[in-house]
Symmetry: C2
Amino acid sequence: MKRDPDSSKDLSAQIAAAIRDEIMSGKLIVDARLPSEAELAEHFAVSRPTVREALKRLAAQSLIRTQRGATGGAFVNRLSFEEAYGQQITTSTLLLSMNAVSFDVACEARFALERACAPLAAARRRPEHLAQMRREIARQSDPALSDEDFCASDVALHRALVDGSGNPVLSYHLAGAVEAMQPLMNMITFTARSRGAIIDLHSRITDAIEAQDAGSADTALCELADYTMTLGRDVMAARSTRAADHSRGTPD
Amino acid sequence: MKRDPDSSKDLSAQIAAAIRDEIMSGKLIVDARLPSEAELAEHFAVSRPTVREALKRLAAQSLIRTQRGATGGAFVNRLSFEEAYGQQITTSTLLLSMNAVSFDVACEARFALERACAPLAAARRRPEHLAQMRREIARQSDPALSDEDFCASDVALHRALVDGSGNPVLSYHLAGAVEAMQPLMNMITFTARSRGAIIDLHSRITDAIEAQDAGSADTALCELADYTMTLGRDVMAARSTRAADHSRGTPD
DNA sequence: TGAAAATAAATTGTCAGACAATTAGCTTCC
DNA sequence: GGAAGCTAATTGTCTGACAATTTATTTTCA
């Protein structure tokens, strides 16, 4: 375990990288205990605060966990699916919001991936997945629901569909794609008519999944993708029209 | 910007969470400068080392970057696709290696997602994507190539295919799925025969993408998925047979 | 006057040492 | 035997200091 001496990075970054390599290469296995902070400080010839900064970097990625007390220390953490979901969602959401990713591109990616899950979900969905989807459809049918909650329910329904594939790795990869769309969807104002259309498509998808009819599910998903993109384009068009009006001095 | 007072987490984790919320909610926009460490320490009523640990946590997730000097400080970082790829790959690789995910499950997820890219790639692939794929096929045809390099080239080919979809968000989501398979693929010993079969399928896929024939590309991808899973199952079978022999005391 | 050089100021990076809080294990006492 | 207390190890946090780096300002000199 050695840090790169002629690196331009911070000491704490170098040390974090050295330990990360040990973990990713399998030299440090799950639940293995790292040397104490004092020992690491001595080993790398740095001070304890510097070691601590390095450890916090690793903790931020859920690579280690720490425990106080006599038998405490830093331990290699088994990255759980839950933690991985969380990181996936954080990264995906920021990537989309910070890079001016167009609604169309994000939507295309999301539905392309979701369509990949549909056949598996149709084959393997279990009663709880169907129940979850029906529950969300019921929620969405409440006209008192705010646009934001409508989007949240939309996300929940789609995650249930993805989970129906019975492949946790697939669920993990899709988590970011589905959740990161929520902020973009929140820009849309859902009229009673558009809600009705979406709920109708959600019902068709759920019915198809229940009937294990992958073809119908795919068709409905494609229609939903088209419809969602249309809504997105309408918002963009309205926005640019308003901006143009503003620049010409037209009142609101 | 306030930290949760009755949280069981570390102070540095609470502060990191508070700042992360500000970034994710958009209150701190890209390139905005955070208060200096001394100011943050005063604001949160903690010491500077604690603030620094919090900032390192955020830096580990590429949420901020720091700069020394008079006009330096911590700035909200625009999460680039490159950085997001990296985090995606790290997380995916660890998730698979630490959770005893079966080869089949990981493989199924990967090919399901990749099949979702194929139609888009067939429609939009550009010459550089085809060239990259051909180049990797040529590399793979060299019998002197080690198994590890063969896998690396395999990953490179599939990433070129994914990038051919022309959707960077899709490429981002697939990066983890494709790259994280590499350690699992490395467990397989590729015979000349299996290499030939794989290269043949790679060629068919590339030809189909070049001909913009999404159907043929999908068929070849499915065959490749089946073949890869067969190889994986053979390895597992051989391994369990050997283990059983060992437990009965049979010599190697 | 203009440009180069020196200086000052602000900020992060690093260090040393200390004490608090927590936890496991051991010891002592009943 | 069990409960209470003590001890040791370890992480969590604080204080204060100095080094390194970068920008802005001032001074100096041609």
